[in-house]
Symmetry: C2
Subunit: 196 residues, 2 copies
């Protein structure tokens, strides 16, 4: 196999990148100055060598503990549990949360053979055993698997009676129109209506 | 800037990859075993170091001359002129052409400052000076710029009166790019090429 075919094959392994897109990407890279291709190669190598999950929360980091875990101004009593690192990025961009995070590294999915042992449940229990956490916010996705994961965690957290458990509110997205919101969301928004 | 941010920045430079997609790709790579990321890095490095345009046709190759140029079974009298290497891949996949290629490396585009000097016109003239070529098939894209490039080449080739000039049949959909045309249409366009 030629070097170019090898590269196309590697690019085609990326999610959402088919054979044709991989070929287009490879030829695009060939048309760039060589140091552009090497810069991407180096960036990949550095990430592969230096980035690992944070010991305290599972978020990718280059240090032993991540920036959020080592930030002294954040509230230790609030722990927000998410599925993936990208959720932390979204929540931080929203800027509405000043507590700590725990990244599970996935969601329960029995059909794909993903059980609790594949998630950072042990790390979550260690955080709770620390005694600082007063509230756990279950911020898993609003998908079927995300809900199942939240339900599992809710049962697990029953053995910490002093810890409050909450989850992100379900309801209308801001700017959303009733006409286009699905029935389940609408039912929930109605049931959980807020008194004004 | 963190290693992960650097990687996301590099990925976001790829065509059709926005910031959000770059982030998704980076987090996907992080979830894979580290040797997957290193395999991609190595593939990029090998291509950057070893792949260069073929001396005879401009097609990317790891040798001095590419597989097609050194294949003794191909017809030296037929020269197919294309814009990009991906067009050679498409034509070879269609399997209807047994001559040689010349990859211009782009198309005339005065608005983008791309004139004849940016294309492999000198290499084309050298091929014609060799005296083996009896017919030049202009297989530029059926876009405005591809047509302009073909017209320019047609005028240039007027100084080789013994060389027949043809172009791909008008079977190509207007505005279509070779890379995305199906093999049957491409074969037909090649067989029904029109003499100019």
């Amino acid at each position: 196999m030629s070097a170019l075919e090898t590269l196309i094959g590697e690019l085609a392994r990326l999610p959402g990148v088919g054979r044709k897109t991989a070929q287009r990407l490879a030829y695009h890279l060939l048309q760039q100055p060589r140091d552009r291709m090497l810069a991407l190669a180096t960036a990949l190598q550095v990430v592969a060598e230096k980035v690992h999950p944070c010991d305290s929360c599972g978020q990718p980091t280059e240090s032993l503990d991540c920036d959020i875990c080592t930030d002294p101004r954040r509230d230790d009593s609030l722990l927000c549990v998410v599925e993936e690192p990208s959720a932390v990025v979204s929540l931080e961009r929203a800027g509405a949360f000043r507590g700590r995070y725990l990244v599970l590294g996935g969601r329960l999915s029995p059909l794909d053979g993903i059980g609790p042992e594949a998630l950072r449940i042990g790390l979550l229990e260690r955080r709770l055993a620390g005694g600082l956490v007063r509230e756990v916010i279950l911020a898993t996705n609003a998908s079927l698997e995300g809900e199942a994961t939240a339900t599992y965690l809710q049962q697990l957290l029953g053995s910490y009676p002093t810890v409050k458990i909450s989850r992100l509110a379900r309801g209308l997205p801001v700017g959303g129109e009733l006409e286009y919101v699905d029935g389940i969301t609408l039912s929930h928004a109605l049931t959980a209506r807020e008194e004004l």
